[in-house]
């Protein structure tokens, strides 16, 4: 297998990824609280202002926050790509990102243009700093493999997502007059199918075989999947430039190709995990399974929407598709990997600080039963979310409570782990 050396001596200081990992769950709590406060009105349409704010708390506040921290951690480790001035860079990205997300989501939720306007430069600064540093490090990386290629494509997709997002925000703030609907479609497509999916795939190539003791991904998959996905999102985007009927045909063909890529990724990953060498229970694996099952469910729903125009035009369809992809797929795999990466990093950094044999066992850093409770609540939140997409009243309250509890448990588990690091580190002084 063409593995980059997972050289941990290149790892950045632990506070670099952890400032992202420990603050991201706060946005899950905010998202759930905002959902509860807005009530059924939030789900009247996928374009409702409160829902736009809530969605960005999930995608930008939680997902992108964790993904940014993970990329800063993984680049040196996977590709030998040293991030220059990691502490300074972490500040320069995290602070504007954190405050920018609060302002943007507040502005969208409360329909306050001035907050959106203020968020613009902050988010532009955070992502510009992140993209420059990540692409610069990757370009100089000694190791090139399927993972670094997929991550590079994910970063390209992120730059498009952010560019489109900034245009949309300027439109909402009244600074520009733009065709909002097509731009929003592109923004969602590049954000979810580009940035999110490509990064998940790139990271999966490394962490699934390594942490779950599976066979490596087949060579054909690692060679073609990332590039194919990127080209298909690009082809799908181009349909907006064409006139009918060519536009619809291209959009459908590209979407079918995307569905095929996602099915292939989900099925291959599930099969690799099924045939893993060590059958011990593993909470990260459980999160992956929920995530991949949700991804497949989202594709089935999309296919049903291609057959039934009534379904495709319903509010339920758009909401359920978004919920299955964002909460079902992305949140599941990100939270699952977060448990693994945080306990691994804490174990690893203590290894260097404490005398041999004194550092806590990796499995004791996040207790399995505590993570398992979180997983159960997260799983329960999915049908509740889908029910709320169909019948907002009263299900939105049940879904909101489950999401809130899930966020609280994640936060508690991560902070408990961080405390173990701080206490053990203090003893070493």
């Amino acid at each position: 297998m063409n593995m980059a050396s997972l050289s941990l001596e290149q790892a950045p200081p632990i506070t670099v990824p952890f400032r992202f990992f420990l603050t991201a769950p706060l946005f899950l709590l905010l998202a759930a609280l905002a959902l509860l406060a807005a009530g059924p009105a939030a789900l009247e349409s996928r374009w409702s202002q409160p829902l736009l704010g809530i969605t960005h708390l999930f995608t930008l506040g939680f997902m992108s926050m964790v993904m940014t921290g993970a990329v800063l951690q993984l680049l040196p480790v996977l590709a030998g790509a040293q991030v220059p001035q990691p502490r300074l860079m972490a500040w320069a990205i995290h602070l504007p990102l954190f405050s920018g997300v609060l302002l943007l989501c507040g502005g969208l939720y409360f329909s306050t243009a001035i907050m959106v306007t203020l968020a613009l430069p902050l988010l532009a600064l955070a992502f510009a700093a992140f993209l420059v540093i990540a692409i610069y490090s990757l370009a100089r990386a000694p190791a090139r493999n399927a993972s670094t290629r997929a991550i590079l494509l994910a970063l390209a997709a992120l730059s498009l997502t952010i560019g489109l997002g900034l245009l949309l925000a300027a439109g909402i703030a009244g600074m520009l007059h733009l065709p909002m609907l097509p731009l929003a479609a592109l923004h969602v497509g590049w954000g979810l199918l580009g940035w999110t999916t490509l990064l998940v795939i790139g990271v999966a190539y490394q962490v699934i075989p390594m942490f779950q003791l599976t066979q490596p991904y087949p060579h054909t998959v690692t060679r073609w999947l990332g590039g194919a996905l990127f080209v298909l999102v690009l082809a799908w985007s181009c349909h907006l430039l064409l006139s009918e009927p060519a536009a619809s045909r291209l959009a459908l063909a590209a979407a079918c190709g995307l569905a095929a890529c996602l099915i292939a990724f989900a099925v291959i990953t599930l099969r690799l995990q099924q045939k893993r060498r060590r059958k011990a229970p593993d909470i990260t694996l459980q999160f992956w399974r929920v995530g991949l099952a949700s991804l497949l469910a989202a594709i089935v729903l999309w296919l049903a929407g291609q057959v039934s125009a009534t379904l495709a035009n319903s509010t339920f369809y758009a909401l359920a598709l978004g919920m299955l992809f964002i909460i079902g797929f992305a949140l599941s795999v990100i939270q699952g990997m977060l448990y693994k990466i945080t306990s691994f990093l804490i174990w690893f950094h203590l290894q260097g600080k404490l005398p041999p044999g004194k550092s806590p066992h990796m499995k004791s850093i996040i207790q399995d039963h505590a993570a398992r409770w979180h997983w159960r609540i997260h799983l329960a939140s999915l049908p509740l979310c889908l029910a709320s997409a169909m019948w907002p009243m009263p299900w939105i309250y049940a879904a909101g409570c489950a999401l809130l509890l899930g966020g609280v448990l994640l936060l508690a588990n991560l902070y408990r782990a961080w405390n173990i690091y701080l206490r053990a580190g203090a003893k070493a002084q």
């Binding site: 297998m1 001596e9 003791l213 060498r277 174990w347 044999g357 066992h361």
Partner: protein, 77 residues
């Protein structure tokens, strides 16, 4: 390359263990290794993080990929 001592004193088969168990076991075994003895480790992947730690602690190692795709790592002082 230095001569590998013939005497295998410690055998570690960590092929079915998930990270960081293999690394933990190797680090625990190293202090038991006397000069002239070697540790033979069977691993499902190449243990790159271990190499850096071995170099730091003054050990020499040699890795060979076996027919079944797993790795044999020989470690000595």
């Amino acid at each position: 390359m230095a001569e590998v001592p013939a005497n295998i004193s410690i055998e570690l088969d960590v092929r079915d263990l998930d990270p960081p168990e293999p690394l933990q076991q190797a680090l625990a075994a190293l202090p038991l290794l006397k000069p002239g003895e070697q540790l033979r480790m069977l691993h499902h992947r190449e243990p790159f993080p271990l190499y850096a730690m071995l170099r730091e602690r003054g050990f020499t190692y040699r890795t060979t990929q076996m027919d079944d795709g797993s790795y044999e790592v020989l470690i000595w002082r």
